[in-house]
């Protein structure tokens, strides 16, 4: 199975790898997947208190190339978006952008889950329903 150039690019030069302080009130952390399933994504966002714009996003992923590329792409897309805008990111957008084959669609679903989970964590910390 050959990978698309975009998957290879994100895999070889992953964007925004790292860790934000999950205790920080402005940081939301999403940890999704399971080691038994072969995919674990941790995606973090840091939201500007005033503007509610995501000013930083970081990830670490245990998984195949498509999983790493999906989460790397997600962090790129998140930066500069408001929380509300971020919620509208759909897994099929990731599938399209990375040209993921059908067997790898679950990687994009996981990335969407990670985004939603990170936002939920941020909202809960900040008393937003």
């Amino acid at each position: 199975m050959a990978y698309s150039d975009k998957v290879l690019d994100h895999f070889k030069n992953p964007r925004n790898v790292g860790t934000l302080n999950k205790e920080d009130k402005n940081v939301g952390t999403g940890l999704v997947g399971a080691p038994e399933c072969g995919d674990v994504m941790r995606l973090q966002i840091e939201v500007d208190e005033e503007t509610k714009v995501i000013k930083d996003a970081k990830f670490k992923t245990f998984g195949c190339g498509s999983a790493i590329a999906s989460s790397s792409l997600a962090t790129e897309w998140l930066k500069g978006k408001t929380v509300d805008e971020a919620l509208s990111i759909d897994n099929m957008d990731i599938v399209e952008e990375l040209a993921l084959p059908p067997v790898k669609i679950h990687c994009s679903v996981l990335a969407e889950d990670a985004i939603k989970s990170a936002i939920k964590d941020y909202q809960e910390k900040n008393g937003v329903a």
Binding site: C37, G38, F62, G63, V109
Partner: protein, 405 residues
């Protein structure tokens, strides 16, 4: 060496030895005959070439040439042996014993037999991949007709105690079949000494061509017969119809002859290289060998690199190095290796496994390159891995509620 392709996936298939190719070439055009054409020189030449190959192959496994049935490969041989015995010995019984780490060609054949009303016992293996001989003996019943245990495992290289298994089968008067695909041509195999009655193997795992295999069928004490699975011209003593693949068979024979002569030196050289590779990679923290290391093929190692996913890891070096992974992502099934799981590995460790299988053409320079590239890959993937970070921070991974998906 940046653009060099290094092949460490010899358990999947081996390159065809150039000496084998050379031996095959005349049988495509110069000697085009059908080995079953008894009435002209073209047929005679083909038949003679097949006879020679049959001798060479029989000689490699300690059999008589009349006991070699040519097939299209080991999958067909496994099917013919198991289904053929099940049908031929139906009056004697309908129970077959095999084990959970067998190749799918054996397991799926057994599943089909169960659907047809047969009874199959799947022996579990121990943590090191070996079957428990006492369990095997206890599983034999009055209606048991066949025990089918592979010689060496394709994923781990673990070698089963065939001699002891042969003794147990002899004691109870049960036929013993072995899928010897990974062993023949690489380590000494003597079917008579081991008490094996049927054995499946193939040319392309021993530097021969793809598309030709063999089934050894014992002829004396006991005389074993299998019901043919293909109807046709009654070739191969009526057990396997179909025009013989003469060039393929010639290549298979040549590969067997070379293996017989060079096996010992190849095995010695490869076990040194394998150990070098293995020791080099075990320098990485949290890396473990899967399967027994004492009873193991000399050219194989299967290693799990904890908290790194196998397919992702392979992607870091697969422009240069070819290996296999037990990770789900490399197969269509999304389930990680059933062989490693049968050894008691958790799904997480099965996902983290890589199989390295060296071969006749592997060099020390390639092994050195592989140690370096794989080590860099593991470190890179761990830098990306959230569970590696948690492990390093002392988080108990078992305590986390993962969202299974």
């Amino acid at each position: 060496m940046a653009n060099k392709l290094i092949y460490l996936d010899n358990n999947a298939t081996t390159p065809t030895d150039p000496r084998v190719v050379e031996a095959m070439v005349p049988y495509f055009y110069q000697h085009p005959g059908n080995a079953a054409s008894r009435s002209h020189p073209f047929g005679w030449a083909a038949e003679e070439a097949v006879d020679t190959a049959r001798e060479q192959i029989a000689n490699l496994i300690g059999a008589d040439s009349k006991e070699i049935i040519f097939t299209s490969g080991a999958t067909e041989s496994d099917n013919l042996a198991i289904k053929g015995v099940y049908e031929m010995y139906a009056r004697k019984g309908n129970h077959i014993i095999t084990c959970t780490t067998e190749h799918k060609a054996v397991l799926d054949t057994c599943h089909k037999i169960e659907k047809q009303g047969g009874e199959v016992t799947y022996l579990e293996v121990k943590r090191d991949g070996l079957i428990d001989l006492a369990e095997l003996e206890a599983a034999i019943k009055d209606n048991t007709i066949l025990v089918s245990i592979m010689f060496a495992n394709n994923e781990t290289g673990v070698i089963q105690p065939m001699k002891e298994i042969g003794q147990i089968c002899a004691k109870h008067g049960v036929l013993l079949m072995s899928d010897m695909t990974q062993a023949v041509g690489k380590i000494p195999v003597d079917v008579k000494e081991l008490g094996i009655h049927l054995a499946a193997f193939t040319a392309h795992k021993m530097y021969g061509p793809k598309g030709v295999g063999a089934l050894f069928v014992n002829r004396k004490k006991p005389r074993v017969k299998v019901t043919a699975q293909l109807d046709g011209g009654g070739h191969e003593r009526g057990m396997r119809s179909g025009t013989l693949n003469v060039p393929g068979i010639v290549g298979f024979g040549k590969a067997a002859q070379i293996a017989k002569e060079e096996m010992d030196q190849d095995a010695k050289r490869l076990s040194v290289l394998r150990d070098k590779l293995e020791n080099g990679l075990l320098q990485l923290e949290e890396s473990v060998i899967n399967g027994n290391t004492e009873y193991r093929m000399p050219h194989v190692t299967n290693i799990s690199f904890k908290h790194v996913e196998g397919e992702g890891l392979m992607m870091t070096f697969n422009q240069n190095i070819a290996v296999s992974s037990g990770s789900a992502c490399t197969s269509a099934s999304l389930e990680p290796s059933y062989v490693l799981k049968a050894l008691g590995l958790g799904d997480d460790l099965a996902h983290s496994s890589i199989r390295f299988s060296l071969g006749r053409f592997t060099t020390e320079e390639e092994v050195d390159f592989a140690i370096d590239a794989v080590s860099k890959g593991v470190n890179h993937m761990r830098d990306l891995s959230p569970i590696w970070e948690m492990y390093k921070d002392g988080v108990d991974l078992e305590s986390i509620e993962w969202s299974e998906h």
